[in-house]
Amino acid sequence: MAEIAIRNVEKSYGKTAVLHGVDLQIANGEFLVILGPSGCGKSTLLRMIAGLEGITQGEIAIDGRVVNALEPRERGCAMVFQNYALYPHMTVAENIGYALKVAGLPKAERDRRVAEIAQIVGLEAFLARRPSELSGGQRQRVAMGRAMIREPKVFLFDEPLSNLDAKLRVQMRLEIRRLHQRLQATSVFVTHDQIEAMSLADRIVVMNQGRIEQAGPPRLLYAEPATRFVAAFLGAPAMNLLPATMIAKNRARMTDGTEISLDPERFAAEIGQAVEIGIRPEDVMIVWPGSEGAHQVEVEFTEDMGSSRLIHTRLGATEFTVLQPTAQIEAEGALHITLPEDAIHLFDAGTGRRLAGKATLIGLRASAAA
């Protein structure tokens, strides 16, 4: 078990910079998930912790010891690879026990430890098989067993579930969580799947274009996204983002002329500032026509998701989605909605930064022109 300190770490290949000064502290025993789209630098950061990529600038320390110049084998990390990277010419037992063999442990000791690990990951019956004779889920378990056997200080996971089908992915996700509860080892898990991130993480780090956008517990990132990017990336269906301009201290006008009133006490926006108003589809309230503050949107089509229904509409010129519990009546033609004031997020359209806590919705009305 160990804590990891990443200090102002940069990475570039020739002139192409892929990481621009990343700072991150990972606590002892923490399960940290690095989340981001492909190409954001998350895998590179993980591989730099492992020692598989050089560090261009800055330093990484594990348990207070700077590891920049150390070989992978000297860092005490174990890694589960995206394609498992099982040795195809070795049996399951040999795959799991290879690290101990390299370390020079006697065979009897190795066999005992391999049997122990095989039992934890549920592979006792498959020890004599080759990787080619295993299913995807079993290969995943071998990869995890191989990582566990060295009792590493740090577990690194490089999108380990992305090659599994949806059902198996959910199952392995639970097993990884269970394993972490049992071992309590510091774990860094890289993924582009936000559901995976939300369900596994003690803390999520959202990365974008080589920078950290926000780090925090899943609930906090969901409730108070620090940037428009985090707001849009976390949550499915994605948050609605409506471009608008502040026309008064307490009023924003959307691109089609629709206006929305905001409590000036709660929003630090300047007059004339370009903003984006965010609201999650599940926070939108469907109301009866004529209800107070109700606004009419045009329904384009609906997607039935089983437990809920996703209604695609237009609010002025902008696409706008509403999540509706299926028990409610079916929407057709027009729909009346309100935007609850405590569910609104406000972002600066230029920088994408969060502007304030929560907006209070005063009213929404169509402009005279519309």
């Binding site: 492992a50 020692g51 598989l52 070989e71 992978p72 084998r73 990390c77 174990a78 890694m79 690879f81 995206q82 394609n83 990277a85 099982l86 040795y87 195809p88 010419h89 290879y98 690290a99 390299v102 370390a103 191989r146 990582a147 060295r150 090659n163």
Partner: protein, 574 residues
């Protein structure tokens, strides 16, 4: 279009394009082999195994077989050590100049064997400028130490070491890089990774590389012809050559028996090599191939660079410089000084002597024509074989590859057997005309044209052609509009490759030349046999210049080709 067969549309429509491939294989591979076998089985006029076995059991044959096995076996071991070592270092170590090394080392293999043999002979003989400079030269008039069984082994082993290197580097491209990283995470050091991961994963490639080097040495003509024939050390190819040139077509059936024996031994080993190579696991699409993962320290880097430079010095630089030195003196044996330096030999062979000028022209025409024809054929052939081959595909690939994989002397004998008699309808014999050499080149070098086009074709996504088919393009149209442009760079590489091999080759034309159709190889060998080493060396240098030029042009094309299409590209830098 009815879909009665259940084959995908792309493998159905336009199937008739496969017909020319089948005809080609029947005429070019199957017919000559049948002719060879039937001649070998009727040595005394009537069909029978007895005379064939009798021919094989003659003391002269057995001695040649023994010499062939000893020289090829020894050369194989040498090639494995040198080529295997080179491949390991290039494959795993990040050292500056890796690509240059691979390029130059491969160049040493592309120089014709008889030129290489002559170069080594000049390097280690009594007149050697290298040995003279070191004060180690044997006294003038003493025999050349390289003209011996050991000399043949040494030169064959060095000459074919690049085959081992290239085979192993192709194997490295099939190893997922993640396995090395997993082993690094498991705590393994460089040597441990090589021993526990790379060696076992590439076991088949190691064995195959050895066998390929063995077959190459076994079928080689130029090296034992220069280093063994003068002192009566005969291998199977040189025995065949001597029988035929001493006694003429009257001994043709007996020689066919020897050629059949050569072919059988080489064929069995080749099949085994193919099996072994395919046994190793191959890379899936989602995995990145092995990159050099080891950065040696400054001392290690220096040591490895020195090692590589020494190898290049011995295998390429010193022999070529010796050859150059031998070509720049008035006559062989005269030491090269500022006073003795003369371009006279080059003037003789390039400008004055009718025979050599004619030979350059012959080789240029024959090699150029063969290269162009084969290049043009290679595109529809590659297309038809991959799209319409179906279950026959592996057999087609094997058959089409055979004439280049088998020893050249076998191809030459088979060509004589097929074309000695007048052609069925025309009533004229092609034997003793330049056309038989052209035909032999077409037969022998087709695989060189197909290798890059097939590799590129295999990378081409069928969905492009499917999209074309949905737009209404028929097979011929898809071939011309969609496939051919993608294969054009590969065709260019194939044309250049064939030109450089055919321009300098000796093995085939040594048996097929006639008064007006001498090739450069034949003339150069004749000059060397007649003791005119200086002129022969000048021709050797001139051919090396042409080969280097062609190779540089191919290297320019390399970025347009898929990995593996150009043989000497080592694993990518990482």
């Amino acid at each position: 279009m009815a879909h009665a067969t259940g084959r995908p549309f792309l493998e159905e429509e336009g199937r008739s394009l496969l017909l020319p491939v089948l005809v080609w294989i029947a005429l070019v591979t199957v017919l000559p082999l049948v002719a060879l076998a039937s001649a070998a089985l009727s040595i005394e006029g009537a069909p029978g195994l007895g005379p064939l076995v009798g021919e094989w059991m003659r003391p002269g044959t057995l001695r040649a077989v023994g010499n062939s096995l000893v020289t090829s076996g020894g050369a194989m071991l040498l090639s494995l050590v040198i080529g295997g070592g080179a491949a390991m270092i290039i494959g795993i170590a990040r050292i500056p100049g890796r690509r240059l090394f691979a390029l130059l080392f491969t160049l040493s293999m592309l120089i014709a064997p008889h030129v290489v043999a002559l170069a080594f002979k000049t390097m280690l003989g009594p007149a050697s400028p290298v040995l003279q400079a070191l004060g180690l030269a044997p006294p003038p008039g003493s025999p050349n130490p390289l003209v011996s069984l050991g000399g043949i082994v040494l030169v064959l082993g060095l000459h074919h070491a690049p085959i081992v290197m290239l085979t192993l580097l192709a194997g490295f491209r099939q190893v997922p890089h993640h396995l090395v990283e997993a082993a690094q995470m498991d705590g393994a050091r460089v040597w441990r990774i090589c021993r526990d991961i790379l060696f076992p994963l590439l076991a088949g490639h190691w064995l195959a590389a050895g066998l390929l080097a063995f077959v190459a040495a076994f079928g080689n003509f130029g090296i034992p012809a220069l280093l063994g024939l003068p002192i009566n050390i005969l291998t199977l190819p040189t025995l065949i050559y001597r029988e035929l040139t001493s006694f003429g077509p009257s001994v043709l059936t007996g020689v066919a028996g020897l050629a059949l024996l050569t072919m059988l031994i080489a064929g069995i080993i080749l099949l085994l090599a193919g099996r072994l190579q395919n046994r190793d696991a191959s890379l899936s699409d989602a995995e990145a191939p092995l990159r050099a993962f080891w950065k040696p320290g400054p001392a290690g880097t220096l040591a490895l660079i020195t090692l590589g430079a020494t190898l290049l010095l011995i295998a390429l630089v010193l022999p070529v410089l010796s050859l150059l030195a031998a070509s720049l003196v008035p006559s062989y044996g005269v030491p090269l000084t500022r006073d003795t330096l003369t371009w006279q030999a080059f003037g003789e062979v390039l400008l004055r002597q009718q025979a050599t000028r004619e030979a350059f022209l012959n080789s240029f025409r024959l090699a150029g024509l063969a290269a162009l024809l084969l290049g043009l054929l290679s595109i529809p052939f590659a297309f038809a074989m991959l799209r319409y081959g179906g279950r026959m595909r592996p057999a087609l690939l094997l058959l089409v590859d055979l004439p280049y994989a088998l020893p050249g002397i076998v191809v030459a004998i088979a060509m004589i057997l097929v074309f000695l008699k007048p052609l069925p309808i025309a009533g004229i014999s092609l034997y003793a005309t330049p056309w038989i050499i052209l035909l032999a080149y077409l037969v022998r070098f087709m695989p060189l044209a197909l290798k890059p086009t097939l590799a590129t074709m295999a990378m081409l996504s069928p969905s492009i052609e499917e999209a074309g088919a949905l737009c209404g393009a028929r097979a011929g149209r898809r071939l011309v509009d969609l496939v051919a442009p993608a294969l054009a760079p590969a065709m260019g590489a194939g044309i250049l490759m064939i030109f450089l091999m055919a321009f300098t080759e000796l093995t085939v034309s040594a048996l097929l030349w006639s008064a007006g159709s001498r090739t450069i190889g034949v003339v150069m060998y004749g000059l060397e046999e007649a003791g005119q080493t200086t002129e022969a060396s000048a021709i050797g240098i001139a051919t090396i210049a042409v080969v280097s030029l062609a190779m540089l042009l191919i290297d320019r094309l390399a970025p347009l080709l898929p990995p593996g299409a150009v043989p000497w590209k080592p694993v990518e830098d990482g």
